[in-house]
Symmetry: C2
Subunit: 293 residues, 2 copies
């Protein structure tokens, strides 16, 4: 399979769906809809929704059925970036090579744009067709738990509180498991649910998502240390300057690289029962590790 | 009926349910759960959830069935207050006589505590039992639309953008309809849905909520001008200082008072078809107007 072509096709599908689900930029009040769209259509990789769709395919499901969940997860991911970038949080001026939402629209509108994307996510998710095994209660619950105070937000809190503190490896794992892995796990699980997956398939995909999520975050940490600002499209070395908890800081660069490779093997192994149907998930996992770290 | 006793009983029921729905204050990471509970259990009047329960009763439903929706609306109301109080928004130091969330926990945690309460609201709402006429899709959709970028958040944006601008009466109405009335309308509608209300009942309650919401906001505007800080438990005259859009500023104090009375009559009239079953809704509407304005 041609991964580049596959990614481009899926990105287009997801962006068309997001555009359909979101209010027009001109909808009153225009400021908030412009701000939501500014961040949502800022050239994101669409990793979470693509994983969601690929998991649905691995379970024999239809792309169309997985699209609402996929788009909901992307809205939540974008909202978390907008709030993460705020001066009271990470205080980032750039994201994906462009000024962050609050730099363009002001801090107040950026808070509200994040709030609105989070709310929209649940409106979109509510349009998911339940399957025989999974009803809307489970689908909404899956999203709310992954994005809630014991997962995504727990990771952000731990991240905030770890700044300037000595870093333990378990503390770091906690941050990554909650801030990153939980959202990837939920993405593949939601795709599987839309395909009426068996409990066994759901479990295997959870393990895949967990390993992939940690691998992804370790690589992000490594790239922050090794790459230039220009290449990243955000301020590089920033994590180091802010004394943020990162894998390279906790266990060194070489060990971090080996950890990323080990986690990727773990991710691939979790897919064994799917055989050829998981081809795209395997390719996506490889793609994440093939970043230049 | 003894309204004071009724309110106290309902407040207790709602607070017990909220306590059950929310993670413990000690749940990891404790900071976020302490912050969420600090604002959620800060002596709020529980107006929205009480209206939700009273609407369920007016439609012949059970309190128990309406509690998830009622609590979801209170979580959303509290999140909107936390974010509204932030320095980048209204910049309020006090709320209900206590320091605001960001004053106690810092701006970053306050942003996240609001996010977490919004997310929790949908987790709670997902535990609502659908009825014959209303499925979970409609219930989640009702909440998401009321709290979204074209209602609650639209009102907040318009409010932010109106500061320091000349105030028109229609601009003001837009703010109140979206920032306040939409949440009250959704509260009574959700109560009605939990009671499997007819379309006619739902429509009547929407009209009731709309009139009540506007009345409530006009009175809030009046009180801000006429009351002292001590009595309000927040910085009085603040709206005036910040040149905020208020009814007294737009049409004067006397006209504002008459408008509040007119809207209350409108609210009562909307309940005519319910007869004695709406006794509590009538009492609640009176209660809102009987504030010392």
């Amino acid at each position: 399979m041609d991964l580049k072509q596959y990614l481009a096709r899926r990105q287009k599908q997801i962006e068309r769906a997001l555009d359909r689900f979101l209010p027009r930029a001109s909808a009153k009040p225009a400021t908030i809809h412009k701000a939501m769209r500014y961040s949502l259509f800022a050239g994101g990789k669409r990793l979470r929704p693509i994983l969601c769709l690929a998991a649905a395919e691995a379970c024999g499901g239809e792309i169309e059925a997985a699209l609402p969940s996929a788009c909901a997860m992307e809205c939540i991911h974008t909202y978390s970036l907008i709030h993460d970038d705020l001066p009271s949080m990470d205080n980032d001026d750039f994201r994906r090579g462009r000024p962050t939402c609050h730099k363009v629209f002001g801090d107040g509108i950026a808070v509200l744009a994040g709030d609105a994307l989070l709310t929209t996510a649940f409106e979109i998710a509510a349009s998911t067709q339940p399957t025989r095994r999974y009803d809307l209660k489970q689908i909404i619950g899956e999203i709310a738990v992954a994005a809630g105070s014991r997962k995504l937000i727990a990771g952000q809190v731990a991240d905030l509180e770890a700044e300037g503190q000595p870093i333990t490896r378990s503390g770091l794992r906690y941050i990554h498991e909650n801030k990153t892995a939980a959202m990837l796990i939920a993405s593949v699980r939601l795709g599987a649910m839309s395909a009426n997956a068996t409990a066994k398939q759901l479990e295997a995909l959870s393990a895949f998502g967990a390993a992939l999520g940690l691998a992804f975050q370790v690589i992000d940490d490594i790239l922050d240390v090794t790459q230039t600002s220009e290449k990243l499209g955000k301020s590089a070395g920033k994590d180091l300057t802010a004394q943020k908890a990162t894998y390279p800081a906790a266990i060194g660069l070489e060990k971090s690289r080996r950890e990323a490779q080990r986690l990727t093997r773990e991710a691939h192994d979790a897919l064994s029962a799917f055989g050829g149907k998981a081809e795209r998930l395997h390719a996506l996992a490889n793609h994440l590790l093939d970043r230049d770290y």
